[in-house]
């Protein structure tokens, strides 16, 4: 069966520091991969998605970036965090049919 992992689970970072969040999927190949952010009390905001290695589509211009160095690995990065980057970051994957997405456990990021 397929599983999706995210780490770290929680992170507290100072403003201006770099960020790297990692997401990996097991048990499937060539998944579509997604990064979402959920601010406190808000809905889901799609940040990036990828349909293949090295292919990244950005949905919202901001100081975050994403990379997909391997088929089942998706990384969210920032060179300098802002206070507004605080939130709950969710990674998801989908297959090639029907686009049903399966979510990871999330990373709680607090920028101080």
């Amino acid at each position: 069966s397929q599983t999706i992992h995210q780490w770290p689970a929680t992170l507290v970072q100072p403003v201006g520091s770099p960020l790297s969040l990692e997401c990996t999927v097991e048990g499937t190949s060539n998944p579509n991969l997604y990064w979402y952010r959920q601010a406190a009390g808000r809905g889901l905001q799609l940040l990036f998605y990828s349909v293949g290695i090295g292919q990244i589509s950005s949905e919202v211009p901001q100081n975050l970036s994403a990379s997909r160095p391997q088929d089942r690995q998706f990384i969210l990065s920032s060179k300098k965090l802002l206070l507004s980057d605080s939130g709950f970051y969710l990674c998801a994957w989908s297959g090639q049919l029907h686009n049903e997405q399966f979510f990871g456990p999330g990373t709680r990021l607090t920028v101080l």
């Binding site: 579509n32 809905g43 998605y49 686009n99 049903e100 997405q101 399966f102 999330g106």
Partner: protein, 113 residues
């Protein structure tokens, strides 16, 4: 472009009572429709999905949803809620021509004893 509206931000229901969460979508062709549930501090879990065929779909945890094309709706129901059903519920719409899903803003369900 596809979009989803969940008219109810917050619903409070007594344990053992029935629950219905509303979802309306906007999409020109036949949509793919989903309901997800999120407990505090957790990821989203897929409750059920509709792609085609029977318009009444059964999901996990005793939930069901009905696709009504004429009303552009995909409402979620449960006959008798349990305290563990307290969570946030998201409706989402997708299509065969798009890799992305559009999510509603969510409905928070509180269950009182």
């Amino acid at each position: 472009a596809q979009s989803v509206t969940q008219p109810d931000i917050h619903i409070t229901v007594s344990e053992g009572a029935s629950l219905e969460l509303r979802c309306n979508y906007s999409y020109g062709a036949t949509p793919y429709l989903f309901w997800y549930v999120q407990s505090p501090g957790q990821g989203l879990q897929l409750l059920l999905k509709y792609f085609s065929g029977d318009t009444l779909v059964q999901g996990i945890k005793g939930f069901e949803a009905e696709f009504k094309r004429s009303q552009s709706s995909f409402n979620l129901r449960k006959p008798s809620v349990h305290w563990s059903d307290a969570a946030e519920y998201f409706c989402a719409v997708g299509s065969a021509s798009d890799y992305k899903l559009s999510f509603g803003a969510g409905t928070t369900v509180t269950v009182r004893a």
